[in-house]
């Protein structure tokens, strides 16, 4: 495939949606089939930014994202330190606890927490009421929103910081120790300064992720009347008639904030490359933290309970309870109070089966096609001297700075305008997810291609093979682990995605995430809970299958 074709592909995948958002923000009409809506240029749409709602949404977004990322960093960082650098018991378990919540979509986590800590009927409130303490919990509040976001973004912090901590050259710390540093001194003068760039980098990343998060904000924030920018955009699009131009204007603001934040992150991550010394076969020193081991273990188990155990129990109860309303815990222990009827009902329903089939099909296609595209791009950028390869890289990384919900909007307009019979089919979802996750795929592939010495491939060419043959005989087999990890990562991300699909699905192309979200929106909590449980099982099954194909754990970063 020649480079110009690749450029054209990226232009349609990424540049056109972005351009359409920009155009709509400055126009009085939105793109339609046959028109990109470039009539009537105006600044009118930006008036909405000075409205009370916009200002509140922006403030809420900033407050929520800042607090949630600080809390997530604390949780993830502590777990990473425990697992990577201390003599705590059961490190493998701590590692598992650190990444396990990744397999639970934040959408499902939010649903579970509204079941657990909804103001009157949450299971935790039933419990405290049962023992005479009254209603103690209300998750539909600012702290509740921050808490749930932090729970489900802590694993990203965990992965990044864990990576930096295990890659650290032990000689650096040993040198400090030889020169007379105590444990505390070593930590404060060598260890933490060395991982600071990684910590800052992941902090900014999590800020961006929580800032653009739609599902949690919608499911926890909206009932509590806390609006953030993504939910504001969604509401504008869903009002009748849809206020697309104003939504685009808000989207531009959200994107500008995220581009600024991402730019900072890229700089910090660049610096990180110089500071962490990676070494093969070096074992980092394990620190003896003595009595703190118990505290650490309790912390990890507590997090596990909050992020996984309680939510899964809540989902189970909600899908098993026979009566939709429970006002007293004792009702759950009565005769016939629990039954598998609803779960089986869901399992057999056409809605679930169609959505499961769609989700799996989309995820597999996104993983395979996305990985292939990402490989080809990385190859052009890192292995050829094609002019303009740096701009290819720039475009490929662009979606990183664009919120998924905004990309979804842009992709909606793109495929409405383009004269291809794609809109309304499952293909548009595949295209959208490939576009949104191209940065993750590209990053995984290029990290992996950079680890394979170019000489290895060149020597095959000198020995008489064509370039393509050399790639398949030498480069790809040596990249196997990296390729499989990238495929698995894309599979997981596509399986979980909701925001980008919101504007693109139709009644025939619903995904599991959409079904859960719709059920919740319509108040069908039992159905939402049973679908969620099955959703988790489908994800787990996919992971197990993919691993059987040879992929290692998602040790790549999600963003």
């Amino acid at each position: 495939m020649p480079t110009w074709l690749m450029l054209a592909l990226l232009a349609i995948l990424i540049l056109m949606p972005v351009a359409l958002i920009l155009i709509s923000a400055f126009s009085s009409s939105t793109p339609r089939p046959g028109s990109i809506g470039l009539s009537g240029l105006t600044l009118e749409n930006f008036k909405i930014l000075s409205s009370h709602q916009s200002v509140t949404a922006l403030t809420n977004s900033l407050v929520v994202a800042t607090s949630a990322s600080v809390l997530a960093m604390f949780i993830g960082g502590t777990l990473a330190f425990l697992a990577a650098r201390t003599n705590i018991w059961g490190k493998a378990v701590i590692y598992f606890i650190g990444i396990a919540p990744m397999f639970l979509p934040s959408l499902v986590g939010a649903l579970a927490w509204s079941l657990l800590a909804g103001p009157a009927t949450g299971y935790l409130n039933l419990l405290t009421r049962g023992i005479g303490l009254g209603n103690l919990f209300n998750v539909y509040t600012m702290p509740g929103l921050i808490f749930v976001l932090a729970l489900y973004y802590a694993p990203y912090a965990f992965l990044l910081i864990h990576g930096a901590m295990t890659l650290m050259n032990p000689d650096l710390e040993e040198a400090a120790s030889v020169h007379g540093g105590s444990l505390g001194k070593i930590l404060s003068t060598v260890t933490f300064p060395l991982v600071t760039p990684a910590i800052l980098g992941s902090g900014v990343l999590i800020f961006a992720l929580t800032m653009e998060n739609f599902p949690v904000a919608q499911m926890i924030g909206t009932p509590g009347q806390i609006e953030t920018l993504p939910t504001f955009i969604y509401r504008l699009m869903n009002s009748a008639p849809a206020r697309g131009n104003e939504a685009a204007a808000v989207a531009v603001v959200l994107t500008v904030v995220l581009i600024a934040v991402t730019a900072i992150q890229q700089r910090v991550v660049m610096k990180r490359n110089f500071t962490t010394v990676s070494g093969k076969g070096m074992k980092p020193r394990m620190m003896d933290i003595g009595k703190l081991r118990g505290v650490g273990l309790a912390f990890a188990l507590g997090y596990f309970a909050l992020a996984i155990v309680l939510p899964v129990v809540a989902l189970l109860l909600a899908s098993l309870q026979s009566s939709p309303y429970v006002s007293n815990l004792s009702q759950l222990f009565g005769e016939d109070a629990l039954s598998f009827w609803s779960l089986f009902q869901t399992l057999q329903s056409a809605t679930f089966l169609d959505a499961a089939r769609n989700s799996v099909m989309v995820a597999v296609c996104v993983a395979v096609l996305g990985a292939a595209l990402a490989f080809y791009l990385s190859y052009i950028v890192y292995r050829t001297k094609t002019p303009g390869r740096k701009s290819l890289e720039f475009v490929a990384m662009l979606p990183l700075a664009i919120p998924a919900i905004v990309m979804g909007l842009g992709l909606l307009w793109t495929w409405l305008v383009l004269p291809l019979p794609v809109y309304g089919t499952i293909v548009v979802l595949i295209i959208a997810f490939i576009a949104i996750y191209l940065p993750q795929g590209y990053r995984g592939m290029s990290a992996s291609i950079l680890q394979v010495d170019k000489d290895l491939e060149d020597s095959a060419v000198l020995l008489g093979s064509t370039r393509a043959r050399a790639v398949s005989y030498v480069t790809l087999p040596l990249m196997k682990t990296g390729v499989m990890s990238t495929v698995l990562l894309l599979l997981m991300l596509a399986m979980r995605e909701l925001s980008a699909a919101l504007f693109l699905f139709t009644s025939n192309t619903r995904l599991l995430a959409i079904v859960v979200f719709d059920n919740y929106d319509n108040g069908a909590l039992r159905s939402a809970a049973s679908t969620s449980l099955l959703y988790i099982l489908v994800i787990l099954a996919l992971v197990v299958l993919a691993k059987a194909f040879g992929a290692r754990a998602t040790n790549g970063e999600a963003r």
């Binding site: 000489d455 290895l456 060149d458 020597s459 060419v461 000198l462 370039r467």
Partner: protein, 361 residues
């Protein structure tokens, strides 16, 4: 086969890595590209292999023009029949040794039997008989080097390129492989281009040496030529001449004056003039004695500041009175070594002092 490079220019971005390189390698000869790290040796070699595309020039292998910027000829690497041993060896870690070495033959679609025979033969040549089934990731540096060599030899290349093939090995192994490589090259009558930054290696392996500086060939000649008559002081410096002093013509015919000291040097050759000329004296040509010798020129007193025993030789650093420090390499046979602080006399024959321009013009 004979290889010719004509006016090769190679650019990375806006900077020239190779500029105006002309070289000719006779069939069956070895040319060593010698120069400091970063001077463009690897780049030149990659041009011959077709891994880099020069912006100008012509490259001929045998009677085939493989690159010509004017005629737009650029034969791709895999059709040039050029063997190359990479500095990193580039042995494929996920394949066995047999698979590594058989690869070029499979690319030529040879029969199974012929492939097996030729792989065995190549492995025998490099001393790895019986290693066929081993995985390549478990080899030592020296063994990898041999596999890389066998993999290139097996294709019977028109020209074999070797990029610092010994630089990753320890000193003893390096010495042994240096001799083996030269023997193999002569036995197989291979046309070789060999890259190194080590002058000892260059002298041992070359039929001709091409000295590279800043992307250009500064001097080309036989090892003896280059060693005896370096074209500039910086080349002399690179070849291990440690006594290099800036000098000026001082009026008396046959003598130069040190630019930074008042000492005079008598030389045989008295043509160069200017402010960028230097006197070069090899440490082994500096004579050290306890008494004042009866030579009537180049006769200086001084004090030993460092004496370092090196087995068969002693290396001295001597501070000349009113002059620079000079290094001398004295054979153990020439009497008991002087110690630090001893007063000594230093002389050098006028014919051993070379007056050279600082750089090649």
């Amino acid at each position: 086969m004979k290889v010719t490079l004509e006016n090769i220019d190679l650019k990375y971005g806006d900077t020239y890595a190779v500029k105006g390189v002309n070289a000719e390698i006779e069939d069956g000869h070895s040319l060593v590209l010698l120069g400091k790290s970063g001077c463009g040796k690897t780049s030149t070699m990659r041009c011959i292999a077709g891994l880099e595309t020069p912006v100008r020039g012509r490259i001929t292998i045998g009677d085939q023009v493989v690159f010509d910027s004017e005629k737009n000829i650029n034969i791709p690497s895999h059709k040039r029949n050029v063997g190359m041993v990479f500095q990193s060896y580039a042995v494929w870690p996920h394949r066995t040794i047999f698979e590594n070495v058989a690869f070029p033959l499979q690319m030529k679609n040879l029969g199974k039997k012929e492939i097996t025979d030729r792989v065995d033969e190549a492995l025998h040549l490099v001393g790895l008989d019986g290693f066929q089934k081993r995985g390549a990731s478990l080899l030592s540096g020296g063994q990898m080097q041999r596999v890389a060599l066998a993999r290139s030899l097996v294709m019977r290349p028109s020209v074999l390129l070797l990029d610092e093939p010994l630089s990753n090995l320890d000193a003893r192994l390096r010495d042994r492989l240096r001799i083996e490589l030269r023997a193999l090259q002569q036995k197989l009558n291979l046309t070789c281009v060999y890259v190194t930054h080590d002058q000892g290696e260059a002298l041992a392996l070359a039929d001709r040496i091409a000295l590279m500086q800043n992307g250009k060939l500064a001097q080309v000649g036989s090892p003896g030529d280059i060693y005896e008559n370096p074209a500039s002081a910086s080349i002399a410096d690179f070849l291990g001449v440690t006594n290099i002093f800036p000098v000026l013509k001082n009026g008396h015919p046959g003598t130069y004056k040190m630019a930074e000291h008042r000492l005079e040097l008598t030389t045989v050759d008295y043509t160069l003039d200017g402010d960028a000329i230097k006197a070069c004296i090899r440490p082994e040509d500096v004579i050290v004695s306890g008494q004042r010798p009866d030579a009537d020129s180049n006769n200086w007193a001084g004090e030993v500041s460092v004496a370092s025993y090196q087995g068969s030789n002693v290396r001295y650093l001597i501070e000349l009175d009113g002059g620079p420090a000079i290094e001398a390499l004295v054979s153990r046979r020439d009497g008991p070594p002087a110690g630090k602080g001893n007063r000594v006399w230093v002389t050098a024959s006028p014919s051993d002092i070379q007056i050279l321009p600082a750089e090649v013009a």
